[in-house]
């Protein structure tokens, strides 16, 4: 179900768009911001709200990789796997993340706190390796920094 917050933003986004179709990317971003991912039901509801056929919304949400099609953790960790990050130690970071969280790439922890996936170049190669947690970049990452970051996120959540 799309929440109250979304409905408020919905009007704003539609009003500032050239037409309904042009609003789709921003609307999907908004849904994801609220729920962490875009479910089939939410996409259906969006189709009803915008009067855009479901198939066209589906085409967009499956084309763009930023839209998560399954549930993600409260903290969604993305690690860049492209060349500059690779040379700067991304493979070791991948192992460290998987070990620390006890999940494999593409999975979510049982408590729903973390999910992890690899992505392509994040446009920040000079400060490689780079990971993103939700919308925030963490650059020049090393294993020690990673441990600390994950501990902090765990701590935040307990508070």
């Amino acid at each position: 179900m799309l929440g109250e917050n979304f409905r408020k933003d919905f009007q704003k986004i539609m009003a500032s768009s050239a037409d309904a179709q042009s609003a789709v990317l921003a609307l999907l971003h908004e849904i994801q911001k609220e729920n962490g991912y875009v479910s089939e039901e939410d996409a259906c509801e969006l189709s009803e709200l915008t009067k855009i056929p479901y198939s066209r919304i589906k085409a967009v949400m499956t084309f763009y990789t930023m839209y998560n099609l399954k549930k993600t953790g409260k903290y969604h960790i993305q690690l860049c796997r492209n060349l500059s990050c690779h040379m700067a130690g991304a493979p070791a970071l991948k192992q460290a993340i998987e070990k620390n969280l006890g999940i494999k790439e593409g999975e979510i922890t049982k408590d729903g706190l973390f999910s992890f996936c690899e992505v392509e170049c994040l446009g920040s190669c000079g400060t490689a390796p780079v990971i993103m947690v939700n919308e925030t970049y963490h650059e020049n990452m090393d294993e020690a920094g990673l441990e600390k970051l994950i501990e902090n996120l765990r701590g935040n959540f307990k508070k």
Binding site: E120, C125, G126, M132
Partner: protein, 415 residues
């Protein structure tokens, strides 16, 4: 000589103190054709990768009535490229001022900044800067008391490298899948919402205020020959000082590498250089050391200036593995419309994986070469070439590393 990153100005007050928006004032008192003429004279070429002459592109916009659009390409997703982000961080108003001037010159009423979805922080910076510019009437209606109205909308992408290609980008603004359009018609005739549209990179647009203020010939005199002006290079890899550098075009790579980048980090040795983003052919260390950083010299060296996304590859990095990483990327990012691209990138990735894992044969390498040859120039957009060209260069220049993998004795891979 620096233009784009000479003085940083995070807010509009600082930008104004640095002489900001003077170029816009001057532009609004000029004839539109004269601005385009100055930009032509400046020899400014597109900084997004293709290097198309900027003034010429603007002159293609028909002088008819009706809506026209100016679109700023801030997708910045070519691996190795992180220069536009630096402009947004350090000098966001130079982009907005450049866009206002460009819009006036081509007669556009609406502008778009299409920014990659991951750049949330940069999106906030742009939104804040736009609000500042509106509050001073550098954007909005009747700009600076003139009969010229223009405003800019921000559209966030959602993770698709192909949306950096200009017509895919237009599709994406229209809320569709980012699949490149067949050209012609070119965007200057039928672009966004079927209207005449100019698409320029962030760095290209941010260079415009200088040209208007100082004149086209002043800009043309910077750099070397037809490679005019300054260019940002975003440098990654194990050099002492990675980061974003603004240099005059024509600087020898050797000088740039030694004096600006400080050479390699302790214990690292230079093996190869990708000069202009992951889509351009790789240079060996020796080739790079003999080249100058400008369009013509790099073309002579068999590569391209591209986006200026420079990736420095050290001796320890296996080139088979490096090409595999690039092949995986291009296959992942192919939009799937054209068979040679969709299938070709997939095959190359698969064959590269096989070779990387020590299960390859020399036919596999030959196959990659012939697949690459057959991908080039046969597709709607150049993404297919963007893998084919590097693939051929990696194999031709580092054949011994491919052979080592086939024989199972690559001493750079622990696999």
């Amino acid at each position: 000589m620096k233009i784009l990153l000479e003085k940083s100005a995070f807010d509009i007050e600082t930008y104004l103190k640095n002489g900001g928006y003077e170029a816009l004032k001057k532009a609004l008192s000029m004839k539109r054709e004269d601005i385009i003429e100055e930009v032509k004279k400046s020899n400014l070429r597109g900084r997004g990768g293709a290097g198309f002459p900027c003034g010429l592109k603007w002159s293609f916009i028909p002088k008819t009535e009706g809506p026209k659009y100016l679109v700023c390409n801030s997708d910045e997703s070519e691996p190795g490229t992180f220069k536009d982000r630096e402009i947004i961080h350090k000098n966001p108003h130079s982009l907005i001022e450049g866009m206002a001037i460009a819009a006036y010159a081509i007669g556009a009423q609406t502008g778009y900044i299409y920014i990659r979805g991951e750049f949330a922080r940069e999106t906030r910076i742009i939104e804040k800067s736009l609000a500042e510019a509106r509050s001073k009437n550098f954007l909005g209606s009747g700009i600076l008391g003139r009969n010229f109205s223009f405003d800019i909308k921000v559209v966030r992408g959602a993770g698709a490298y192909i949306c950096g290609e200009e017509t895919a980008l237009l599709e994406s603004i229209e809320g569709k899948k980012g699949q490149p359009r067949l050209k012609p018609p070119f965007p200057a005739v039928k672009g966004l919402y079927q209207c005449p549209t100019v698409i320029n990179n962030v760095e290209t647009l941010a260079s415009v205020p200088y040209i208007v203020l100082h004149g086209g010939s002043a800009y043309a005199s910077i750099g070397v020959g037809k490679s005019a002006g300054t260019k940002l290079f975003s440098v990654s890899g194990p050099v002492k000082k990675p980061g974003v550098y603004e240099i005059e075009l024509g600087m020898p790579f050797k000088k740039f590498f030694e004096e600006e980048l400080g050479g390699m980090r302790e214990g690292e040795k230079l093996k190869a250089v990708i000069v202009g983003g992951s889509s351009v052919p790789v240079l060996t260390a020796q080739e790079a050391m003999a080249a100058n950083l400008d369009y013509e010299s790099l073309q002579q060296a068999g590569t391209m200036l591209g986006s200026g996304g420079m990736i420095i590859i050290p001796e320890r990095q296996c080139m088979v593995e490096a090409l595999f990483i690039l092949a995986r990327f291009y296959h992942h990012e192919s939009c799937g419309q054209c068979t040679p691209c969709r299938e070709g990138t997939g095959w190359i990735e698969k064959l590269m994986k096989k070779i990387l894992e020590g299960k390859g044969a020399s036919e596999d390498v030959d196959n990659i070469l012939s697949i690459s040859e057959n991908m080039m120039g046969r597709t709607i957009c150049p993404l297919a070439d963007a893998l084919a060209m590097p693939a051929i260069s990696f194999i031709k220049k580092f054949e011994h590393e491919f052979n080592a993998h086939i024989k199972g004795n690559c001493n750079l891979c622990r696999k």
